[in-house]
């Protein structure tokens, strides 16, 4: 079924062994070891897992782009990208938990559950089979229900976990139902086989496929924090321990995006006209409602939760425009990586502040900038990065996403509105980010607030406190990441570009014929999108010309027999989807007749789209 020496299997072994040892440690302990021993073991296992991924990438044996094979997991660059993002968050969570959860009993199960959840996320990123995807989804989700409720005497934590559990259980039920419908339509759970058989799908089954698509989006949407499904997010993030909120917001949400890429964007490739519009509407709603709701909040974790919702909207721009612009998926992945670091550092900075002052209320943040200069600095930087202020990494990923939206405007008329909505929302979001920064740095406290009684390092009433050291270590890494990739984003842009296929895979399929046609006309006529494409080339500097500007290479794609665009990796590295058969052509004609062009003279465009078998 799976190659035993592939990355996901090796990571599963590393994290799984550590995850099983951790609870056993408690059985043999002589005295209360606190969180340090367990935290160190979990940290070591996660670092080892990270090293495995990096070593595999360095060895050059990982295929670029996204690969779908007949196995349940495929070792590809896409999975490596998401795994790295999620492992960074897991490491930050583990390190900061050692201080933040110091007084909470049962460290063994706590770190064990974090590791098990990480296994689920990693397997999710690599899975190429709906069955594997759902098993990994549950392996990721079930430990987080327990982690969210880990301070079990605290009513708030319990409430947060119950809300999370109910929505999570509904989401997984819907996912399993959607998978059952897809299995009924295609007769397989393998994503490569699903793509292939959806191409020749009977038109009568189309409504069923659309229902399955909607249920998939809803199911993933609960984890991704999309707007009609976001109700649990603020409550859960507020009630859970702050490092766990970081894990939920920055890691499991990214896993939701990885799953959406696998199952919706590529799995339902044929329905791309439908889902791109669906996701675009949801993206605008998500951005706007998340930002508007965040403006009225008083609790730092709730602000970060709503900001997390709005950031999901930005990433969704990239998903919805995936068929129309090469930059879109690349920008989405770039933003996924950035958001993982920015949001986890913001949550962990909030955790550090809460350790000292004992509250998440931003009215108590007055004068924090002077009392805790280092944590406040990182908090301010990560909030500015979330807002997308230029010299930080968040700017570049938003820039690429908005450039993709403008770029795609040459194919679909509604795409530029996504960029407009995104830019307006960025300005709006600065409203609450700047409010927090103002509270920290410019508002003087009426009285010097007392330090939390339980605080480890400083005595009560001191003006300047010693800041928690491990949390500072995590924040130092995050600061280096945000500023470093803000000043020199090229390597990360190249990495995200190497992790996605070019958008040619969409136009080569019959469902995407319409967009393929329009794109060809644009090429022949006038190079409208070239401004954007040039500027984005400026962005990635020397880093990535691996397949850049491949939207000008025409829409050859798969019908030419598994032809991949150079470098960017294709959906069928193993030649799984070779649809040069007449089936594809007739299905394509059906699709075209349905869509706006009334079957008058489609032959010319047909040839352009690389389908030689026109009547």
């Amino acid at each position: 079924m799976v190659d035993l020496y592939s990355t996901p299997v090796m990571i599963t072994v590393v994290l799984g062994v550590a995850g099983l040892i951790l609870p056993l440690l408690d059985a043999f302990r002589r005295r209360d070891m606190g969180h340090k021993v367990h935290g160190s073991i979990a940290f070591g296992a996660l670092i080892l897992a990270m090293a495995v991924i990096l070593a595999r990438i360095a060895s050059g044996s990982i295929p670029l782009g996204i690969t779908f094979t007949d196995q349940v997991m495929a070792d590809d660059m896409f999975g490596s990208f998401f795994s790295i993002a999620m492992l960074i968050v897991a490491i930050s969570t583990v390190v900061s938990s050692v201080e933040y959860m110091r007084r909470v009993p049962n460290p063994g199960p706590y770190y064990s559950l974090i590791l098990l959840s990480s296994i689920g996320m990693v397997m999710l990123a690599y899975s190429t089979d709906l069955l594997m995807l759902i098993v990994a989804w549950e392996l990721m989700s079930i430990p987080t229900y327990v982690l969210a409720a880990f301070r079990k005497r605290d009513p708030l934590t319990n409430e947060a976990a119950i809300k999370y559990f109910l929505f999570g259980a509904l989401a997984s039920g819907m996912l399993i139902y959607a998978a059952s419908l897809i299995y009924g339509i295609t007769g397989s759970t393998n994503i490569a086989a699903i793509i292939q058989s959806l191409v020749g799908m009977d038109e009568g089954l189309r409504p069923l496929a659309l229902i399955a698509l909607a249920m998939l989006i809803a199911g993933f949407g609960f984890k991704m924090a999309l707007v009609p499904f976001h109700m649990w997010i603020p409550d859960t993030y507020e009630g859970s321990p702050a490092p766990i909120s970081a894990l939920l917001s920055a890691a499991t949400k990214k896993a939701g995006f990885a799953a959406a890429f696998k199952a919706v964007i590529f799995g339902m490739l044929v329905l791309n006209v439908e889902w791109s519009l669906m996701l675009a509407v949801v993206a605008v709603l998500t951005m706007t409602i998340g930002n508007l709701a965040a403006l009225t909040q008083r609790s730092m974790t709730r602000i970060l939760a709503y900001s997390s919702i709005s950031q999901a909207g930005y990433m969704l721009i990239g998903l919805s425009l995936a068929p129309y612009s090469d930059l879109a998926m690349q920008g989405a992945l770039f933003h996924v990586m950035n958001h993982a670091v920015m949001k986890s550092s913001a949550f962990i900075a909030a955790a550090g502040i809460a350790l000292v002052i004992g509250t998440m209320n931003i009215d108590q943040y007055r004068g924090i900038g002077r009392r805790m200069p280092l944590i406040s600095l990182v908090m301010a930087v990560s909030l500015l990065a979330l807002a997308g202020v230029p010299p930080l990494n968040g700017f570049w990923s938003k820039f690429i996403l908005f450039a993709a939206a403008v770029n795609a405007g040459s194919v679909v008329s509604w795409a530029p509105y996504l960029a407009i909505a995104g830019i307006l929302n960025s300005a709006l979001s600065l409203g609450y980010y700047a409010w927090v920064i103002r509270r920290m740095y410019f508002d003087e406290p009426a009285t010097i607030p007392a330090v939390n009684q339980n605080y480890l390092y400083g005595a009560a009433g001191m003006l300047k406190v010693r800041e928690p050291r491990l949390i500072l270590a995590v924040l130092a890494f995050a600061l280096a990441f945000m500023v470093g990739f803000g000043v020199y984003p090229a390597p990360l842009i190249a990495f995200s570009q190497a992790s996605v296929p070019s958008s040619d895979v969409f136009s080569a399929l019959p469902g995407g014929l319409q967009s393929g046609m329009v794109r060809n006309q644009q090429q022949e006529g006038h190079p409208q999108g070239s401004v954007v494409s040039d500027s984005s080339k400026g962005v990635d500097g020397g880093g990535g010309d691996a397949g850049h500007g491949s939207y000008t290479q025409g829409t050859g794609g798969m019908t030419d027999g598994g032809g991949a665009s150079p470098g960017a990796g294709s959906i069928d590295a193993d030649g799984v989807i070779e649809t040069g058969e007449p089936v594809a052509v007739t299905a394509g004609k059906k699709g075209m007749e349905e869509s706006s062009s009334p079957s008058s003279t489609p032959t010319g465009q047909h040839d352009d789209a690389g389908q030689s078998g026109t009547p």
């Binding site: 069955l131 559990f165 997984s172 139902y177 059952s180 009924g184």
Partner: protein, 102 residues
Amino acid sequence: MAEILDYTIVSIILLAIGIYGLTVKRNFIRMLFAVEIIVNAANLNLVAFSRLMPAPNATGQTFALFSIAIAAAEVAVGLALIIVAYRIYRNIDIKGLKRLSG
């Protein structure tokens, strides 16, 4: 083909019952039932498709076994949360969960 439709209709009815239960009921255990009903609707689909498809294969039945195990694990965690909630609130009605709001 008519037979497969019967199973699908039953499964859609079960799905509707499950979603109704989750959205209307306010008792935690009833909501857990609703989740189970949704998963079982999917299982019914999987098994029926697996047996009655034009080209029958066993993947669907394997999937159903996995999803039964997954749902059991999920419900176990849910029941643990209920027990903790009962110790705190002496009640398992989720109407009481109103402390977190903004």
